[in-house]
């Protein structure tokens, strides 16, 4: 029996073709040999294809499990090695000289909070302003260029920011300072906040913007009282994610804030920071300092996770801790 595909393209065959298929599957005749062969081949390959499908689903699920293992391991070790050293002293005392037990990281905690606060004060207005520009002038050449460059800046190593701030601020002034550290961190913040602000502002419907303009609002007032206010939750999330990221940065601070064994509140002096202190303690030869480093890491990660979770809560449903 000849299948349809084999029939010649003549009008006579058209007629034959139309009568052909019913002939092969007459109720009492059953399926043709060809049909039975095709069916059995389909069944066989289908079995294999289904097996491949199931196998791949298994492999993919396994990789999902594997990918979460490092996180669990890291958190486990942090708790195991760090928890015992996290006590009141840790939060209230400054470091003791090597060899003496006890002491804490009060200076580093204060330093980190100050650095992050200063960096936010410098970086956020610039980032939010640039993000507003990108959203309001969507499609213009400058907007496209700025968006692209912000993305590129976002991917630059943080150590480059450190070198930049060192050459730009530390070297001309002549000494390391908290301000230079904050500047380096702010430079990291700007492109991050720019992009999230743009995304969030773009989500505000045009109709709202138009409604405000139609009421006689100036564009500035529209942006401040309607657009930014409506996008607040999203912008806060973006800002918090940026804060969480710079709070854990070490490399830029090596060249700028330098670190300090004592508590300092001066902006023009070197200042301690939690990540810096963890690094210095971790590479030291003293067991007691290692324990302090673990405790510091635990506190740092708690800080970062709390900020991240707060960010997540600010806009439910959007996960955005990764590379945007």
């Amino acid at each position: 029996m000849v299948g349809m595909a084999d029939s010649e393209p003549s009008s006579k065959c058209e007629v034959t073709k139309r009568h052909d298929p019913p002939m092969t599957s007459l109720p009492n005749g059953g399926p043709s040999k060809r049909q039975r062969e095709t069916a059995s081949r389909t069944r066989k390959t289908l079995r294999r294809r289904r097996a491949t499908n199931a196998f791949m689903v298994g492999v993919l699920a396994l990789s999902a499990v594997l990918a979460t293992i490092p996180l669990i391991l890291i958190l486990y070790h942090l708790l195991k090695s760090g928890l015992s050293s996290v006590n009141v002293d840790f939060f209230t005392n400054t470091p003791k000289p090597p060899g003496e037990t006890g002491g804490g990281m009060y200076n580093a905690i204060v330093g980190t909070l100050m650095l992050v606060a200063m960096a936010s004060v410098i970086g956020m207005p610039v980032g939010i302003g640039a993000g507003l520009y990108l959203a309001e002038r969507k499609g213009t050449k400058l907007a496209n260029t700025v968006r692209f460059l912000a993305d590129v800046l976002n991917g630059l190593p943080s150590i480059v920011m450190g070198i930049f701030a060192w050459e730009f601020l530390v070297k001309p002034i002549g000494h390391f300072s908290a301000l230079a550290g904050a500047a380096a961190l702010a430079a990291m913040m700007v492109p991050m906040v720019t992009r999230t602000t743009e995304e969030m502002v773009s989500l505000v419907p045009t109709s709202l913007r138009e409604a405000a303009l139609a009421l006689g609002y100036s564009r500035a007032r529209t942006a401040m009282t309607v657009v930014l206010r409506t996008a607040t939750a999203g912008i806060v999330t973006g800002a918090l994610v940026a804060v969480a990221r710079i709070a854990g940065e070490t490399a830029p601070l090596l060249f700028t804030a330098l670190g300090n064994q004592f508590t300092s509140y001066a902006l023009n002096k070197p200042i301690a920071a939690l990540p810096l202190q963890i690094f210095n303690y971790a590479v030291s030869p003293y067991d007691d300092w290692h324990a302090q480093a673990w405790a510091g890491a635990l506190v740092l990660i708690a800080l970062v996770l709390i900020i991240s979770l707060a960010a997540r809560a600010a806009t439910r449903g959007r996960i955005d801790l990764g590379a945007d």
Partner: protein
């Protein structure tokens, strides 16, 4: 003229909701004194190099409702947005020609678009209450930027109440003025937007398909409202619904492909159109 509109409404009663309006119309003072309020001269509106509105000239009268009808994409909304300089807020948009508000060119060199919009209010197709503000704040949203004689017109409280009453929303919301506007129904939201536009006491109110997203009952309320507003100000309403134009307007302009084909008293345009294209449209032969 009122007669002929009545006749027209009656003949189109199949849609149902016009009985009530008819009574309204009978009560309404149809011969309020009027004068020209907005004069449009050779208006062309462009998106980039494409003209969406081509060389339109018309005069809008005070205390009259002017309807603009036409198939979608005919430029009627764009034309409306040129009357309060909203058109130019879109990226590549530009305008040529003149729009005179009481003799002053709103596209004049020294004219501030925001100032124009305070005098020419607008309500959009979709209700646009500000989600971060309460009902009260929404109505008062335009006040702080409005004319400097706010104080003369009473306290914010009084203005809000007056605006909500004019929008016949007061009784429905007076007990929850401080709750968010997002929880209201679509029809209420739209009337809130009208109240918001009225609070600043505009001279002209532009309505861009205000009932397109509303149910029949809400539509009727908005239409009644439009007819009441007619006692004080000039109203321009863009609609794709010819019955609506027939019900609420004194004059109707028919737009096609960016051009104004015909502009006549509503009764005349629906009973005796001058242009065959108008006739084709209102008898449902296209669009």
């Amino acid at each position: 003229m009122a007669e002929s509109i009545l006749a027209l409404t009656e003949s189109r009663q199949s849609r149902g909701s016009s009985t009530h309006l008819r009574e309204h119309r009978a009560d309404a003072p149809v011969d309020l004194p009027t004068r020209s309020r907005v004069v449009v001269e050779g208006l062309t509106a462009l998106f980039g190099a494409t003209a969406a509105v081509k060389n339109v000239s018309m005069t809008l009268l005070d205390r009259r409702v002017t309807a603009i009808i036409g198939p979608s994409g005919c430029g009627k909304s764009t034309f409306l947005r040129c009357l309060n300089r909203m058109h130019e807020t879109v990226g590549t948009a530009s305008v040529r020609g003149k729009v005179l508000l009481d003799g002053h060119d709103i596209y004049g060199q020294k004219t501030n678009p925001a100032a124009v919009r305070r005098h020419v209010g607008m309500v959009f197709q979709r209700p646009t209450p500000f989600p971060t503000m309460s009902i009260r704040e929404n109505v008062a949203a335009g006040l702080r930027v409005a004319r400097h004689d706010d104080a003369v017109r009473g306290t914010v409280e009084e203005i809000v109440e007056k605006a909500l009453r004019r929008a016949s929303l007061w009784d429905e919301v007076k007990d929850r003025l401080d709750t968010s506007a997002v929880g209201m129904s679509g029809g209420q939201q739209q009337r809130l937007c009208i109240a918001r536009a009225l609070a600043t006491e505009p001279d002209v109110l532009l309505l861009d398909e205000p009932t397109a997203s509303l149910d029949p009952l809400s539509t009727q309320k908005v239409e009644e409202l439009v007819w009441e507003l007619r006692a004080d100000i000039a109203v321009v309403i863009v609609t794709h619904n010819m019955q609506q134009a027939a019900r609420v307007s004194d004059f109707t302009a028919f737009f096609l492909h960016g051009e104004m084909v015909e502009f006549s008293p509503t009764a005349e345009i629906f009973t005796n159109p001058l242009d065959p294209r108008t006739e084709a449209y209102i008898t449902g032969r296209f669009g």
